[in-house]
C-alpha cells in the first residue's frame, strides 16, 4: 500500500525564520498530544475538551502575537503556519475585530447554538456580572472570562 501523502503544501519547506520558533511550537505539539491522550473517564463530559481548546488558543495566540504584535516572523512564515494548522485563522480573524481582542474560542460567540440565542457567559464583562465573586467557567472551553474590558 502506498504511503498516504498529505496535502502538497505541507511538503513545502517552511520559510525563513521557522527555526526560531520550531522548538516552542514543538512544545505546543507535545502538550496537545498529551491532552488528546489523557483519559477522560473521571472528567465531566462537557469538560473533556477544555484542555484541547486551551492549548489551541494558546498556540494561535502565540502565532498571532509573533506576527502582529512583535513582528518577529515574516508574512510568508505566518501564512505557512496558518496553512499548516499551527494557528486557527478564523479565531485570529476575530481577534482583529474590536470587542473580540481576547476571544477564547469561536463557539463562545456562536449565538445560534444557545438556548436563549445569546453568547457564552465568558463574553460578559466582569463588571456586568451580578455575582462577581463567583468564578464561572464557560461550558464550551472552560474560559473564565474573555471580554475585552476584563
Amino acid at each position: 500500500m502506498p504511503a498516504i501523502r498529505s496535502h502538497a503544501s505541507r511538503q513545502k519547506k517552511p520559510p525563513e525564520g521557522f527555526e526560531d520558533i520550531r522548538d516552542d511550537l514543538e512544545v505546543f505539539n507535545i502538550k496537545m498530544k498529551d491532552a488528546q491522550n489523557t483519559p477522560t473517564n473521571n472528567v465531566p463530559k462537557h469538560q473533556a475538551q477544555w484542555p484541547i481548546f486551551q492549548i489551541s488558543h494558546q498556540r494561535s495566540r502565540y502565532v498571532y502575537e509573533l506576527y502582529y504584535d512583535k513582528e518577529a516572523i515574516s508574512k510568508q512564515l505566518y501564512e505557512w503556519l496558518l496553512k499548516n494548522g499551527y494557528a486557527d485563522a478564523m479565531l485570529i480573524a476575530k481577534w482583529k475585530k474590536q470587542g473580540y481582542e481576547k476571544l477564547c474560542c469561536l463557539r463562545c460567540v456562536q449565538t445560534k447554538e444557545t438556548n436563549f440565542s445569546s453568547t457564552c457567559i465568558c463574553r460578559v464583562p466582569k463588571a456586568q456580572m451580578k455575582d462577581e465573586t463567583q468564578d464561572v467557567q464557560c461550558v464550551s472551553c472552560g474560559c473564565r472570562g474573555c471580554a475585552s474590558s476584563d
Binding site: 527555526e19 520558533i21 516552542d24
Partner: protein
C-alpha cells in the same frame, strides 16, 4: 530483683602513685595522666607499695608548684588536677555540648551512667589558618585541632574563631541553598536572612555558653591522650581557672556582649557583600546608614528583570507561559523586583520585542552561508559505512545540521549515500576527484593567496572534498594552491564597497555644485540683460520726452500751414 553491679570507685581503689593524676573524660570515663612522662591511660596505674601512704594532695601540690609555666593549658590542666584531686575523683555526669544544661536526677550524680563514647567523626580544614582543623565528633560537638603542635582545644582559640564563624555561615548558606533548589519557591533573599538569623542564634548560644563557660572551654588535650578527653567540672575548676586567667594574657574577650555580636555580624555581612537588612532581622533603626537599601526606580526594576531574562538564555520567541512553566527565572531574586505578574509580562513583552529586533538586524548583516557546508562537515565527522541512512538520521536527528530547514531530507539522504559510497572507494580515485574539483574552481576564487582555512564555499560544500580525511587532504590542497597563479588583476581593481560609495557620493556632490554654479551664472547673465534692456527703454523714453519738450515757433507755424494747405485743397 536486679542488683546493681556498680561498685563505687573512689573508696576501695588504692591511691595513685605520685606524678599520676586522675581526670574525667567528657564521656564519663576516668583516665590517668602522668605529667612527668606525658602519658595517659585508662587503666589505673598500680602504685608502688611504699609510695601509697605518702601521697597526699599537698605534697603533690608542692611538687608541682615548682612548674613555672602555667600559661601552657596542658600544664595548667595537670596542675589543677593535682591541686584538687579529691574533687577531681568525684564522679561527675558529663554534659554534652552544653546545649541543654539539664542535670539528671540528684541520685544519678553519685554514679556514672554507662555513657556512649564520643568519637571524632569528620574534620574540616579551617581556611585561612592552615594547620588548624575543625574536628566534629559523633555527638555533634567539635574542637579545634592543630596537627603541627598536636594540640586540640574545645574552646576554640580566638585567632581561629573568626574563620570558624565564616565557615559556619558558609555551611548554613549552602544548606539554605540546597533547600532553595529543593522547593524552589521561596526567594533566596529570605533564605539568606534565615541563614543569618541561624548564625546569630548560634552566636547568642555561644555567648551564653561562654557565660557559664561550659562548652568552649579551653582545655588542651595532647595528642597522646584520648581526643575526647576534656574537663567539664566547672565547680572544681573555678579557682584554678581564675588563676590561669591571671597568669596568662587573656587570649579572648571573656565578655562577648551584644554589641560585639552585632559588630561581628556586620563585619561578616560586609564580607559577604550582604545588605544589613539581609542578615539582621532585628529592629531596622539599629542598622547602619543606608542599610534599608535604596528604593529601586521603575526603570531599574524593569532593567533588572530584563537582565534576568537575558541571563537565563531565554529565547525571545518563546511564549510567556513556557517561561513561567519552566520556572528557571522564578528562583532568581530579581524575579521579585516586579511585584505583579502583569508587570512582569509587560516587561517581558518589551524585552522580547527589543531582542527580536536586534536578532533580525544581526541576521540581515550576516552573510548568507551555504547550508550545505555545515552538513558536509557533519557528515565527515559522523558518517561511516556501518550506518544506513535511516539509522544515521535517527541517531543524529537532534543535531543542528540535521535539523536545518534549508536542506530537505531528500537532499541530505542523497549526499549521505554518495559520501558513504565514496568512503569505500580507493584513495587514489578520491585524490584524483579532489584535484579535478580544485581545478574546476576559477582563479578568482582559488589562487595562491587563498588560505586553507578560507577555501571557497564551492569546495567546502562538495562531497569530493570531504571524502578524503583531513590528514591526507590538507597537504594535497596546500600543494595545489601553491602551484596556482596569483589572483587576477581584476580583483585588485574592485574596490571596497565603502570607498566606492564615498567616491560616488563625492562625484555627485561635485556635479551638483557645478550644476548650481551654471544655473547661477545663467541667472546673473539674464539679470544683466534685463538691466541693459531696461536702461535702453529708459533712454528711449527720455529721448522722446526731450523731443516732445522741444516746442518752438517754427513748429506751430508749420502746423498752421499744414491746416491751411488742407483747407485750400478742400476749397479746390
Amino acid at each position: 530483683m536486679l542488683k546493681s553491679t556498680y561498685q563505687p570507685s573512689s573508696s576501695p581503689l588504692p591511691p595513685l602513685p605520685p606524678g599520676w593524676t586522675e581526670h574525667k573524660a567528657p564521656t564519663g570515663h576516668t583516665y590517668y595522666f602522668n605529667q612527668a612522662t606525658q602519658t595517659s591511660t585508662y587503666t589505673r596505674p598500680a602504685s608502688a607499695p611504699g609510695v601509697v601512704a605518702e601521697h597526699n594532695p599537698h605534697a603533690s601540690f608542692q611538687q608541682y608548684s615548682a612548674v613555672p609555666n602555667l600559661a601552657d593549658p596542658a600544664v595548667a590542666n595537670a596542675w589543677q588536677a593535682q591541686y584538687n584531686p579529691q574533687a577531681q575523683t568525684q564522679p561527675e555526669r558529663p554534659r554534652f555540648g552544653g546545649r541543654g544544661g539539664h542535670h539528671g536526677a540528684p541520685d544519678a550524680r553519685n554514679r556514672p551512667r554507662p555513657e556512649p563514647r564520643d568519637k571524632p567523626r569528620s574534620k574540616v580544614a579551617i581556611p585561612g589558618c592552615e594547620p588548624w582543623i575543625l574536628v566534629y565528633t559523633k555527638y555533634g560537638r567539635r574542637f579545634a585541632y592543630n596537627p603541627v603542635k598536636k594540640a586540640s582545644f574545645w574552646r576554640i582559640p580566638e585567632k581561629v574563631m573568626k574563620r570558624i564563624l565564616d565557615l559556619d555561615i558558609q555551611s548554613i548558606q549552602e544548606k539554605a541553598g540546597a533547600v532553595v533548589k529543593g522547593d524552589g519557591l521561596e526567594p533566596i533573599v529570605d533564605k539568606e536572612r534565615q541563614a543569618q538569623a541561624v548564625v546569630q542564634e548560634e552566636l547568642e548560644q555561644e555567648q551564653e555558653q561562654e557565660e557559664f563557660g561550659s562548652d568552649y572551654e579551653e582545655v588542651e588535650v595532647t595528642d597522646e591522650e584520648d581526643m575526647n578527653a576534656r574537663e567539664v567540672d566547672e565547680d572544681n575548676e573555678h579557682a584554678s581557672k581564675r588563676q590561669r586567667i591571671e597568669d596568662q594574657d587573656q587570649p579572648f574577650p571573656v565578655e562577648f556582649s551584644e554589641e560585639d555580636i552585632a559588630f561581628q555580624l556586620q563585619a561578616m555581612g560586609a564580607d559577604y557583600g550582604l545588605e544589613p537588612g539581609e542578615y539582621d532581622d532585628g529592629d531596622p533603626s539599629a542598622w547602619p546608614e543606608g542599610a534599608e537599601g535604596i528604593p529601586l526606580s521603575d526603570v531599574d526594576t524593569q532593567n533588572l528583570f530584563k537582565d534576568l531574562l537575558s541571563d537565563y538564555g531565554i529565547s525571545p520567541f518563546s511564549p510567556w507561559e513556557k517561561i513561567i512553566e519552566d520556572g528557571k527565572i522564578v528562583e532568581d531574586p530579581r524575579y521579585t523586583v516586579l511585584t505583579s505578574m502583569k508587570a512582569r509580562r509587560e516587561v517581558w513583552e518589551e524585552w522580547s520585542r527589543e531582542r527580536i529586533a536586534v536578532i533580525k538586524e544581526r541576521r540581515a548583516k550576516e552573510e548568507k552561508r551555504d547550508p550545505r557546508i555545515p552538513y558536509m562537515a557533519f557528515l565527515q565527522e559522523k558518517a561511516n559505512t556501518k550506518l544506513y541512512w535511516p539509522e544515521f538520521r535517527r541517531k543524529y536527528k537532534k543535531e543542528p545540521p540535521m535539523r536545518d530547514m534549508a536542506l530537505s531530507d531528500k537532499e541530505r539522504e542523497k549526499w549521505y549515500r554518495e559520501y558513504v559510497s565514496r568512503l569505500k572507494m580507493p584513495q587514489d580515485t578520491l585524490k584524483k576527484d579532489l584535484t579535478a574539483l580544485l581545478r574546476s574552481i576559477p582563479a578568482k576564487d582559488l589562487n595562491n593567496k587563498t588560505l586553507l582555512e578560507s577555501l571557497p564555499p564551492q569546495v567546502l560544500a562538495d562531497v569530493r572534498f570531504i571524502s578524503l580525511d583531513p590528514q591526507t587532504r590538507n597537504p594535497l590542497v596546500e600543494g595545489y594552491i601553491s602551484t596556482l597563479d596569483p589572483p587576477p588583476e581584476v580583483e585588485e581593481v574592485i574596490e571596497d564597497e565603502t570607498v566606492r560609495k564615498s567616491r560616488h557620493e563625492r562625484a555627485k556632490r561635485e556635479r551638483a555644485l557645478a550644476d548650481r554654479e551654471r544655473v547661477v551664472a545663467e541667472e546673473k547673465r539674464r539679470q544683466q540683460r534685463q538691466l541693459a534692456h531696461g536702461r535702453a527703454i529708459l533712454r528711449e523714453e527720455e529721448m522722446e520726452l526731450e523731443r516732445a519738450m522741444r516746442v518752438d515757433k517754427k513748429g506751430l507755424q508749420s502746423q498752421l500751414m499744414a491746416v491751411r494747405e488742407k483747407d485750400s485743397e478742400s476749397n479746390h
